[in-house]
């Protein structure tokens, strides 16, 4: 072979024929198929971190013995490992930031990991240690023996609405806790929510996944990872707007997928998805799935607002609204009228509702009705109440104080205790001022 050399002002290169074979004769990189976005030299693909665990030398990783590969993603490869010094099993993540990563990046990442390691919460994957071995950067964390929410959704499809709300309430509480320690996640997505053996969620990679993706974005001209869960301010690289509300968007995106089985936005290419994230509204939840309650849709929509200021400002508010939804109470994002509020209370506490209704009925019979004034009451908006399930009788008039909605059916009998309830107490419950 003629040892022809390619000339360059920057460097003398290797043999042309060999270089051509490397470039054009090797197995395709996958770029043509659109499966892999070009990434910077500094970031190792998962296969580069795929160690041969049959080789004792590769299995031995300093204070850890690598036992089994249990996952991989853009950020690195996860192994089940035994921490020798404490004789316990952990999850050890080998980071994609390999020998070509800058020392500055590694130091920033380690600082971030130390910050994340301060967190102790039942729904956050605890980080034990960060470090480097043989120039390979890693962090160890609690081993979660389960699968990710992404895997659960891919295998079993969308969640039941109440189960989704229950799970997301825990996730929102975990995120609120992290925010209270000034730790943002910035990459919330089903793949970063692990489910333990009881199905309880644990949020992983707090503040760490995004650090890597940011570095990729800084160095490359391609979007890394999937942008389906990115907030609009992230998609537009408006870093000054990135904050707690960005994680709120992530909560909404996860909830959306749990309810519909699909992320809010998904285009043919990452760029198309990003364009949709920034410029279009997601398909409404109820148009995708008719049985999603209006309140849950309202909570999700509030999280997914384009403008960060229009979202919930704290993850705690999301958790609280999901709690109210689960309790059948009024959620902050969808105020309801007095009658719907009464209906909700009646559904939550049917025995008390019937008792109150019976008491009011007896009081009404005992005293002459007040003069009719004002508008007639609205009919009950929801016919789903246990006791009011067959609809409601329209009263002849509306008093300013007394609620005269009466059930046609008395399928739910009041208890003797409720029967003796004082009128004032019953009113407090009916008006939402009680313990409901």
């Amino acid at each position: 072979m003629t040892e022809t050399r390619i000339l360059s002002s920057e460097a003398k290169f290797a043999g042309t024929g060999d270089l051509a074979r490397l470039a054009f004769a090797s197995a395709p990189t996958g770029l043509g198929a659109g499966t892999i976005a070009p990434r910077h030299l500094a970031f190792l693909p998962p296969e580069a971190l795929d160690l041969d665990l049959n080789d004792p030398a590769q299995r031995d990783f300093g204070n850890y013995e690598l036992l089994e590969k249990i996952g991989q993603g853009g950020m690195g490869v996860v192994y089940r490992a035994r921490q020798k010094s404490l004789d316990r099993e952990v999850a050890l993540k080998l980071l994609a930031a390999g020998p070509w990563a800058s020392t500055d990046f590694i130091m920033r990442f380690q600082r971030e990991a130390q910050s994340a390691a301060r967190m102790e919460h039942p729904n956050i994957v605890t980080i034990y240690e960060t470090g480097a071995y043989e120039d390979l950067n890693y962090f160890s964390m609690r081993l979660v023996r389960g699968r990710s929410l992404a895997a659960r959704l891919a295998h079993d499809g969308a969640y039941d609405c109440r189960e989704a709300a229950q799970l997301m309430r825990k996730v929102a509480e975990a995120v609120d806790y992290a925010h209270s320690l000034d730790v943002l996640h910035l990459d919330l997505k089903p793949g970063n929510v692990l489910l333990d053996e009881h199905g309880d969620p644990l949020v992983a990679d707090f503040g760490l996944a995004r650090r890597l993706d940011q570095a990729v974005a800084e160095h490359g001209d391609e979007v890394s990872g999937t942008p389906s869960y990115m907030a609009p301010e992230q998609a537009q690289a408006h870093s000054q707007h990135i904050g707690a509300a960005t994680d709120i968007y992530g909560l909404g995106a996860i909830l959306y997928e749990m309810l519909t089985g699909h992320p809010p936005f998904l285009g043919d290419t990452p760029q198309e998805t990003l364009r949709r994230v920034v410029t279009t509204q997601p398909e409404t939840l109820r148009s995708r799935r008719g049985d999603i309650p209006v309140d849950l849709e309202a909570i999700c929509s509030k999280c997914l607002a384009k403008d960060p200021r229009a979202r919930y400002q704290r993850a705690r508010e999301v958790a609280d609204d999901l709690g109210r939804f689960l309790d059948g109470r009024e959620v902050s994002v969808r105020p309801v009228g007095r009658f719907e509020r009464i209906g909700r209370w009646a559904r939550r506490d049917p025995r008390m509702a019937v008792a109150a209704a019976a008491l009011i009925a007896s009081l009404s019979l005992a005293s002459p009705p007040p003069a009719c004034s004002g508008d007639a009451p609205r009919p009950m908006p929801s016919p789903r109440a246990n006791c009011f399930g067959k609809g409601v009788a329209k009263p002849p008039c509306n008093s300013s104080r007394t609620v005269t909605v009466m059930p046609r059916s008395h399928a739910c009998s009041p208890t003797s205790k409720n029967r003796n309830m004082p009128a004032r107490s019953a009113w407090r419950n009916l008006s939402g001022g009680g313990s409901a």
Binding site: T4, I6, L7, F24, T29, H40, W100
Partner: protein
């Protein structure tokens, strides 16, 4: 050799709908300005093959450079008259346009190109040095063009690879490992490098593996910009390999 997809305009494949050549094939679409800009950017990358063609045609270095200036200056405008969709890959289109261009009095375009602040990406000396090393004196202008095109893809990929190493502050590592891009180290060489660089051997093995892989990614990325479908990419890879792998000029 063009495929159905490139004849009929941009491919439906999403990844290929955004390559510069796909945008050129969209020249008659409403975003004509984008198509012209894409063609200008793409053609600028391949100054060297056009220069090599001009030199092998017998033009002196200064004249060849003047010819390149004039050619690249008017190229985006000519596609208003010529439908690029019948041309297949960018490489074929570029050579076809060059042939047509040389049948005209091309010198009239040189002044316009200067007014556009167009200039060669490399000095004459650098271009001449490359030419002397890359080609046999007996090669035809067409052979010189195609071979230089393939070499330019490799050279651009390597420059990007080196730039990424620089971005990470790993120039020393790049200089040390670049020789292993195309050959395996002999026994004990990693250990020797390990002592010199202060990096464990395992890290060096991974670094070389990644270097090679990233080079392939960058070459694919470069080539993708010149085609409009996965099938065209594959055929272009094979064609360029055929041009270079035997080392013939």
């Amino acid at each position: 050799m063009s495929t159905q997809s490139s004849r009929n305009g941009p491919a439906a494949h999403p990844r290929f709908s955004r390559t510069r050549w796909s945008r050129v094939l969209d020249i008659h679409q409403p975003e004509q300005e984008l198509a012209q800009r894409s063609l200008f950017e793409l053609s600028q990358r391949f100054w060297y093959p056009v220069y090599a063609y001009a030199r092998r045609s017998g033009h002196a270095p200064e004249v060849a450079n003047e010819l390149c200036l004039a050619f690249f200056g008017q190229l985006p405008l000519t596609v208003q008259r010529v439908d690029p969709r019948g041309q297949g890959r960018f490489r074929d289109f570029l050579l076809d346009r060059l042939h047509c261009f040389l049948t005209e009095d091309w010198r009239k375009y040189a002044e316009d190109a200067r007014l556009q602040d167009l200039s060669a990406p490399e000095t004459l000396e650098q271009l001449e040095q490359r030419l002397a090393q890359d080609h046999h004196a007996s090669s035809s202008p067409e052979q010189a063009f195609h071979r230089s095109f393939a070499l330019e893809v490799l050279a651009r990929s390597l420059r990007r690879l080196q730039a990424e190493a620089q971005q990470s502050g790993r120039e020393d590592l790049f200089r040390a490992l670049q020789p292993f891009l195309t050959r395996e180290p002999v026994a004990g060489q990693y250990q020797e490098l390990s002592r010199a660089l202060g990096s464990p051997p395992l890290a060096l093995v991974i670094a070389v593996k990644r270097l090679r892989q990233r080079f392939r990614e960058l070459a694919d990325d470069e080539l993708m910009e010149t085609v409009a479908s996965p099938a065209d990419l594959e055929s272009e890879r094979a064609a360029l390999l055929g041009l270079l792998a035997d080392g013939a000029a």
